[in-house]
Amino acid sequence: MADLSRTEALGAERARKRRVRGSLWVTAREAFWLALEALRAHKLRSFLTLLGVVIATTTLISVMSVVNGMNLYIADKIANLGANVFIVHQWQWAQGYENWLKARRRNKPIRIEEYELLKTSLVNYKNIGAQAGLWGDNDARYKGKVLYEVDVAGVTPSMIDIGQQKVGLGRYFTESDNDHRADVCFIGTDLVDEFFPNLDPIGKEITVKGVNFRVIGVATKIGTTFGQSQDKFIQIPLNTYQKSFAARPGLAVSVQAWNAQQMMVLEDETRAVLRARRHIPYAEDDTFGINASETLMSAWDRLTGAVFAVTIGIVAVFMVVGGIVIMNIMLASVTERTHEIGIRKSLGARRRDVLWQFIIESSVMAGTGGAVGVLLSLIISRLVNIVFTSSVPLNAVVIGLVLSTAVGLFFGIYPAGKAARLDPIEALRTEN
């Protein structure tokens, strides 16, 4: 008998819990619509209240978008050495000015012999190539026309399979061109536009530093990076470069692996070969640099890390200010609506119903601010993209919405608690 009534009571208990949950869900939904209604009813007040949260969300998402855009850009345009390619050079890139000065003093350039050694010593690579460059300040001439600041590089024929350039017209160098130190060149589209706007460039002769080179091929257009044209170059065979410009040039050796895992193995092998050849003692650092995309990206990430730290600080301040404004307006709202709370309580609203109503209201308010922030930052991202680069990552949108809603929830707790604790008789007596 006792057992029976006990089971009955437990069943009733479960039913009651279901009922209470149901009630909370219903009140939560009611509170949600109420909050939107309140926002619509007081447009100006809502706008002023939410300004802090809107600015915080906009700042957060905009900065994340620009950094994300830059990341994509850097990964694509700057750190893109080619698929599974690393470059052996005199020093490690992007390590800061101090380190660069030190490396410049201490390290020795990579020489042709070392390139040849790597070519024969490395066990299994997809491609290996080398280039030597006269960066920047070179004039190229053709029949009285001059093009300034042209990059001139001596390259091995294998570089066409490793580097960014593709053959658009004519052909690239052959081993024969290199072996015979032929005075031929492969040019970027900027030179074609300048010298041969309506002519067939193949077979024409371009003069660099008093030496004539016959054009055998033209690269496809690459485009610009940070406004700098990437198509203003002349390539000549490496041996020709040695003959004409520098007997013992410092090289950048590009090694291409078959896949990402093998790249690590090849880097280690390269390091071993070069250290052995240069007789570097066990405890000493390399006197050369091995550069991969990751090296460049990690340097970039260090920079953006600092940007993020500052952004997080600013956003935190805005969010706290925004949250306090919301708390203030919610406290005012509780006072203003004391009578309403009294009515609701007299009709059976429990403390948690009232608590929920106000917490949801402030969360919805702040969340709306967050949504406005998202929209604003989408517009800003569009605008920034015109002059610079910006790409809104999905996680920034999610973080923005969740964070702003959480701020509203947190700063709504105190006012909501105040509303929930109101005495129904006192509240009903309050007239407004």
Binding site: R16, I343, G348
Partner: protein
């Protein structure tokens, strides 16, 4: 009684309670309200205590139509707040529909107000920005009723007070009498044990007041238990029984025939 035991989450308490002296005094079926020596004392500091109610005992049967009358300051409002479960007595016992409500927590009182009591106030106390329909829906929202059923019940209640064509009007678009009828519909909608009307005609002119009283009379005829708080004899005359309150005590319990 059933749900009370569940609320305290002690299923066995139901059985234990039956043998205690308290439970033995539990009112019989058919008695909606029973109070036993109700005291309400306000502590004004400096050891001065004001007794708003000093030992009030009475009972009201199911289906009765009772008016509580008394001059202002008689303890009438305090008694109404206790009956309406808006407040708890300092001392004494109060059973509402066989629930001992004098010892409940705030949230339990809210639950009782929602299930057992329908309020009609002098100042209507409607939510100004909500439609008549939504105002009537409120008690159902707090009892967790799903939307379709809620809407149906609220519409039904509004039709009962002849406001079927004013459902989507806001209170400020309605006349005083119509507002009070919305309040009555709201009080009815959850099928409470009692309807508690506090000066329901106080803010209305005589004609409209009479009209509201006719609505209450009709509800009483339909089987509702109605408790009316008023200081007007004309209004109290609608009831079948008048409790006269003076200085926090029941002065006279008058049956009107």
């Amino acid at each position: 009684m059933g749900w009370l035991a569940e609320r305290k989450q002690e299923p066995m308490a139901t059985q234990v309670a039956i043998s205690t002296p308290e439970a033995q005094t539990m009112p019989a079926d058919g008695i909606i309200i029973q109070t036993e020596d109700l005291w309400k004392t306000y502590d004004m500091g400096e050891a001065i205590a004001v007794h708003a109610l000093s030992g009030v005992s009475f009972s009201i049967d199911k289906g009765e139509y009772v008016a509580i009358m008394g001059p202002s300051g008689s303890g009438k409002s305090t008694l109404m707040n206790l009956i309406g479960c808006l407040d708890t007595p300092t001392q004494g016992k109060y059973w509402l529909n066989q629930n001992l409500v004098s010892e409940l927590s705030d949230d339990e009182l809210a639950y009782i107000r929602n299930k057992e009591i329908g309020f009609v106030f002098q100042t209507f106390n409607l939510l100004p920005r909500a439609s008549a329909l939504h105002n009537v829906e409120l008690p159902l929202i707090y009892s967790g009723m799903p939307a379709e059923e809620r809407l149906q019940r609220a519409e039904e209640a509004l039709r009962k007070v002849e406001l079927g064509d004013r459902m989507h009007h806001r209170p400020n678009e309605l006349s005083g009498g119509q507002r009070q009828r919305v309040a009555i519909a709201r009080a009815l909608v959850n099928n409470p044990s009692i309807m508690l009307a506090d000066e329901p005609t106080g803010n209305l002119d005589t004609t409209t007041g009479e009209e509201i009283m006719r609505v209450l009379d009709r509800l009483h005829e339909g089987g509702n238990t109605i408790v009316l708080v008023t200081h007007e004899h004309d209004i109290a005359a609608h009831a079948h029984r008048i409790l006269h309150i003076r200085d926090g005590r029941i002065d006279r319990d008058e049956r009107v025939t």
